[in-house]
């Protein structure tokens, strides 16, 4: 079956969310991945939204992480601090983040481009809840297109913490031990983090993608897993549900 890159990334991400786990998602691709997981693999996946929505039966993709879809037929309509405090208490397993820049340690920039904080070249929204989620959730995932401008060590602003400067740096800074970036799912490959150095390490290559292509699209040297595998492309049932139920208006999967 034919598929596009967005469908590939969402399908791959959905397979990581196991049943009876808790995930905080935003709008767009992460929400699509959680919805797909809930319909196919993990019916008891608990989906939370940072503005207070808990366990909705999402009828369609929310436009805002605070709109009424985020608690449609939900288990609770709560508050931002109820969600964030659950994260800080260690109750939340997964979250998904995105950003304009990401470095080899998984640190993310969603604040600004430029060198002067007081007059940035481009101002982005900032942390929102991203820094909180990256600080507190056990496993942070990213779904993002890969190019050398985005995957760079010359990150203009660290909005949300990855592994900061490497092994032990999160703990040294005061962040809860044992939390941090888990997988980065791009249009080219799946990247994990090396246990010793906490740097990005490619684990799985998407069909038809070469090492050279991945390297060309990354602004820093990558580590490679010894047992590098090929990513399994979207399964027919993943594509069917994604297209017919999760995103029938192609808000996300149409953006390829």
């Amino acid at each position: 079956m034919e598929y596009n890159q967005m469908e590939l990334m969402i399908s791959l991400a959905s397979r990581y969310l196991e049943d009876d786990s808790v995930v905080v998602v935003g709008t767009g691709a992460p929400c699509a991945a959680a919805m797909l997981a809930q319909r196919l693999y993990s019916p008891k996946l608990m989906i939370l939204f940072e503005a207070g929505g808990m366990g909705p039966m999402l009828p369609s993709m929310p436009i805002s992480v605070g709109d009424s879809r985020t608690f449609y037929k939900g288990l609770a309509a709560s508050s931002m601090l109820d969600i964030m405090e659950a994260c800080q208490r260690g109750m939340v397993d997964y979250t998904f983040l995105g950003g304009a820049q990401i470095d080899r340690y998984g640190n993310i920039n969603s604040t600004m481009i430029g060198s002067e904080y007081s007059s940035p070249k481009v101002r982005f929204p900032g942390s929102g809840g991203a820094n909180d989620l990256a600080s507190f959730c056990w496993k942070t995932m990213m779904i993002t297109p890969q190019d050398p401008q985005r995957f760079t060590d010359n990150i203009d602003f660290i909005t949300s913490p990855g592994y900061l400067t490497g092994l032990g740096a999160r703990e040294e800074a005061g962040l809860p031990p044992g939390s941090g970036p888990y997988k980065v799912i791009t249009n080219l490959c799946i990247i994990g983090f090396d246990e010793e150095t906490k740097q990005m390490k490619v684990e799985s290559m998407h069909p038809g993608v070469s090492k050279v292509k991945v390297e060309k699209n990354t602004g820093f040297p990558l580590l490679w897993a010894d047992n590098l595998i090929e990513s399994e492309p979207p399964r027919p049932n993943e594509l069917k549900i994604l297209r017919e139920e999760v995103d029938p208006y192609l808000y996300v999967i149409g953006r390829d």
Partner: protein, 340 residues
């Protein structure tokens, strides 16, 4: 001159600032107590008024505002429009997920300082050019925070304490440009970031129902509004509908903002438009797109502002300009007939 209430202003403390940002509101809990003792109404009187009166009496140039809801959901649009019409200036803003609300106040260039957690974006819809301009042209003094840390700053104020220890922001540039102060837990010796209580001069919150005294009820997620209501020195409530006190008394479990927090109440049906109002009406995505598109050119933005804000006398006239009851009925159906 923007005043800084940050740690660097104090002499006798063993701490030094971790973040370089300014603290725009005084976190002193005793000063807040004094204000709440002397200025907060205890009397259960009729507090209903008009949007015009509320904005002219309760919001002064230079005031620091906290806007309730979540950017494009349950927002007090009528008050924001009136702030533009009355030409309020040099306001401070708590950017705790502000999206369309921030866009409106940016278009009027109404503020000069901002606690930034989520600003300039409209989530999946895109970035607001007016809002970006405020930052990129250096028109606003900003201090970085996160949604949770700003919500905890409201919480500290609501608790009546001057700070709370939190575990976010550590190790990042968000921390460097915040006004947080690293501290050691006296029990475990672990590192925390102390964030200062945030007592806004005025909070503005749109609710589903309130009585004339200000007893207010919200349906659906409350976001951070219960803490914002308690943290705010002055509190303006706009409500979809006024209900008799008798109704409130029959459903006291739903009241999360009691009257003594509230300074003024205004009934504004469809008051969150073009934002979503849970169980009532969905956001008007076409109208929000029109705003984003208009912002790409100063002339079209000016025309949009004139058409929808400056040339209209009140919020009801704005609603008639966007399609009136016909359009509002469509949005109502989008909200409540999700599965037909």
């Amino acid at each position: 001159m923007v005043k800084d209430y940050g740690l660097k202003q104090l002499k006798n403390t063993k701490y030094s600032p971790t973040g370089s940002g300014m603290v725009f509101c005084d976190p002193d809990a005793d000063k807040a107590r004094e204000y709440f003792q002397k200025q907060k109404p205890r009397k259960m009187t009729d507090k209903t008024t008009t949007i015009k009166e509320a904005v002219s009496n309760q919001i002064n140039d230079g005031d620091y505002l906290g806007v309730g809801g979540f950017g494009s959901n349950r927002i007090p649009t009528a008050v924001l429009h009136e702030i533009l019409r009355q030409g309020k200036k040099n306001l401070g803003l708590s950017g705790h997920t502000m999206t369309h609300d921030f866009q409106i106040l940016s278009a009027g260039e109404c503020f000069d300082r901002c606690d930034a957690a989520y600003v300039v974006g409209l989530e999946a819809r895109g970035l607001s050019k007016s809002a970006r301009k405020m930052f990129e042209e250096g028109k606003v003094k900003a201090t970085e925070w996160t949604n949770a840390s700003l919500a905890w700053r409201y919480k500290a104020a609501a608790m009546g304490v001057s700070f709370l220890p939190v575990r976010c922001m550590k190790g990042t540039n968000t921390e460097d440009y915040s006004a947080g102060v690293e501290m050691e837990c006296p029990f475990t010796g672990k590192k925390y970031l102390a964030v200062p209580a945030l007592f806004p001069d005025a909070g503005i919150i749109h609710v589903h129902r309130a009585d004339v005294y200000g007893n207010s009820q919200i349906d659906g997620i409350t976001v951070s509004d219960n803490d914002l209501a308690r943290a705010s020195k002055k509190l303006i409530i706009t409500t979809e509908q006024l209900v008799p006190n008798e109704y409130i008394r029959r459903h006291p479990d739903k009241t999360s903002i009691p009257y003594y927090l509230v300074d003024t109440v205004i009934e504004v049906p469809f008051g969150s438009y073009p934002g979503n109002m849970p169980y009532k009406y969905f956001s008007d995505e076409e109208h929000l797109k029109e705003w984003l598109n208009a912002e790409t050119n100063p002339e079209t933005l000016k025309a949009l502002l004139n058409r929808f804000i400056y040339s209209v006398s009140d919020f009801q006239e704005y609603l008639s300009k966007i399609g009136g009851t016909k359009r509002l009925a469509e949005l109502r159906q989008q909200e409540v007939l999700v599965e037909k």
